[in-house]
């Protein structure tokens, strides 16, 4: 039951520089019962990776002001303690070369902007129920 045992909630890490989209993703993730941690820059995200407890899911924006989702994803995959945590790359770039690249850096899924609730819910639930 979300809200009753807040400490027991699975957590989600959202790295997104656009405040509007960050707010939306946070809203959606909270609706799905996640405790959301946020980072708006690559620097902040990389720093958080060293300290936070391993989240149940990571959502990465591709275009960050000082870095990119690919870089963060590669870092996550290099950290043993993060294991096989599902990583979703969120981007407006939708073409096969981009999506193939996301797979190559170890992303679990690729979500094309604009984000819609139905597809977001299906994707996140699919990814988190598996692990």
């Amino acid at each position: 039951m979300p809200g009753i045992f807040p400490s027991a909630l699975p957590s989600a890490l959202v790295v997104e520089d656009d405040p509007e989209i960050r707010k939306l993703v946070r809203k959606y993730l909270e609706k799905l019962g996640f405790a959301v941690e946020e980072a708006a820059t690559g620097k902040a995200a990389l720093a958080m990776l060293e300290t936070i407890t391993v989240p149940a899911i990571v959502c990465l924006d591709l275009m960050l002001p000082d870095s990119s989702g690919y870089v963060i994803c590669e870092r996550i995959r290099s950290l043993e303690r993060f294991g096989e945590v599902p990583v979703v790359i969120i981007s407006a770039r939708s073409m096969p070369p981009d999506r193939a690249l996301a797979e190559e850096v170890g992303a679990s899924a690729y979500l094309i902007k604009p984000i819609r609730w139905a597809s977001f819910q299906e994707l996140i639930q699919g990814l988190t129920n598996k692990t």
Partner: protein
């Protein structure tokens, strides 16, 4: 892996025949322009006034219809890809066609003698643009999405980019994926993921390795090859695939970038809207080619109509002088190796094909083609209609259907194609035609290899003006019966 996989379109039960939308669209637009012209006359002069100037209505209507169709063809408005354009583009295209029609109306206004009844520009503007746009958006764009795909695509690669490309193509639903070829370093795991991404309702086939591309292209009609590898890892193999595609004259597409682009965008985003750069071995002249098709349609339709009396006489003569059908339908190989039934008036006895092998010794044409003077299988009337190429006239129907063009390399039979050298396959990179350089160069006196060179010359230096030139040079050849057997 991505959620896109589940979003793939299910197989639709009822699909429209390919090209249906554009055919209906063109006729509807012609009727629309005609109606708009009539109504705009009535708007200005009243119903009885319009009726009184029926003569002008017809002429102005005809002028506006032809302007509209020519403008639309120039904008490639009725081609399959055009139905995927953005709504804004669509509005702009229709506005351009409307202004072409309005411009012609303005010119008529200037040139026509004073007192000629003409519709008013604003009336026509509203009556043309709005309904045309409405029809296009509400009806034809919907139809287009339900058309059966015609183009065959071969994907080189079974890895992530190939899988994502296949997904993309299936979602667009405009192409049939003939199959995949495996690149080196690609694994069973890749194959498994690919198979899974296809899901139920789609056939997936891996023909072999990338080096098998030549055999695959010889066996299957392929309209485009997607070279879905990574240049950094599969460079040599991709280069080999490109070499074969160029030799065969098969259009191909390369991933727009092999590098990690995090922020950068192509300045001409339109050119790589599907993540690929598209190449073809014939000079890209979309407008001229569109005009060629329009010319083919108008020309073949008019010719069939004008020649109707002659055709009826020939049909009667064939029917009453020998046993068997009037038309001879022969399987020929068309654009990108796709077969079609080419129509001819029957000029031989019924079991001619069976007799061909017994006559093989007497072949007078070098190479894989069979040609023979005084062929004993030809009927009496056959000899006459062959001498004047009348037996070829039913191919105007093939032109109208889009299997053929007026000018283009003669469509070969499958047996000839099987014996082609790789470079000769490039003959199939354009629509076959009724006449080409060979026909006006003395035909049977030319060796097979020189004939192939002439066709390559035609393909590599194609222009609309060159086509007209060939048509004019064909006329005397046909009339004198020179070079024909």
């Amino acid at each position: 892996m991505t959620k896109m996989a589940q979003a793939a379109k299910p197989v639709r039960e009822t699909l429209l025949s390919p090209g249906f939308t554009s055919r209906v669209n063109i006729v509807a637009d012609m009727l629309l322009v005609l109606c708009a012209t009539s109504i705009s006359y009535a708007w200005r002069y009243g119903f009885h006034g319009a009726l009184a100037s029926l003569h002008s209505v017809v002429w102005v209507g005809a002028a506006l219809v032809s302007t509209w169709v020519v403008a639309a063809e120039a904008l490639r408005h009725y081609e399959q890809f055009a139905y995927d354009r953005s709504l804004l583009d669509e509005a702009a295209m229709i506005a351009t066609q409307t202004s072409a029609a309005i411009t012609v109306l303005a010119l008529l206004d200037l040139l026509a003698p004073a007192g000629t009844p003409l519709p008013r520009v604003p009336h026509l503007l509203i009556l043309l643009w709005c309904p045309a746009m409405l029809l296009r958006v509400a009806v034809f764009r919907q139809f287009a999405g339900r058309e059966e795909p015609v183009a065959n695509v071969l994907i080189v690669g079974i890895g992530p980019i190939a899988r994502l490309t296949a997904q993309d193509l299936r979602q667009r639903g405009r192409q049939i994926i003939a199959g995949h070829l495996k690149l080196q370093q690609e694994t069973e795991k890749d194959a498994g993921l690919l198979l899974r991404s296809y899901g139920a309702g789609y056939q997936m086939e891996i023909f072999g390795g990338a080096t098998d591309i030549e055999q695959v292209l010889r066996k299957h009609p392929v309209d485009e090859v997607y070279v879905a590898g990574n240049e950094r890892r599969h460079g040599d193999e991709m280069q080999e695939v490109i070499r074969v595609c160029e030799k065969f004259g098969v259009p191909f597409a390369l991933p727009a970038y092999a590098f990690r682009l995090e922020r950068a965008q192509a300045i001409d985003g339109q050119a790589i809207s599907d993540g690929y750069l598209h190449y073809q071995t014939v000079r890209p002249q979309p407008f001229a080619l569109s005009m060629k098709r329009l010319f083919d349609i108008v020309c073949s339709a008019t010719a069939l109509w004008l020649l109707l009396p002659l055709l009826l006489v020939v049909i009667a003569l064939i029917k009453f002088t020998s046993r068997g059908p009037v038309f001879f339908r022969q399987q020929r190989v068309g654009l990108h190796g796709r077969g079609f039934a080419m129509l001819k008036f029957r000029s031989m006895v019924v079991n001619a094909e069976a007799l061909k092998d017994s006559l093989a010794k007497a072949n007078e044409q070098s190479g894989p083609v069979f040609k023979m003077r005084n062929d004993p299988r030809v009927t009496g009337i056959g000899r006459f209609i062959r001498k004047y190429s009348i037996d070829e006239l039913p191919q105007l129907v093939n032109v109208l259907r889009g299997d053929m063009s007026i000018v283009g390399p003669r469509p070969p039979v499958a047996k000839e194609v099987a014996e082609y050298d790789a470079w000769q396959r490039r003959r199939l990179s354009v629509r076959p035609g009724l006449t080409c350089i060979w026909q006006v160069s003395g035909r049977n006196q030319i060796s097979f290899e020189d004939w192939m060179y002439l066709d390559m010359q035609y393909i590599d230096h194609w222009s609309l003006a060159g086509d007209f030139n060939l048509i004019f040079r064909t006329v005397p050849v046909v009339i004198t019966g020179r070079g024909a057997s």
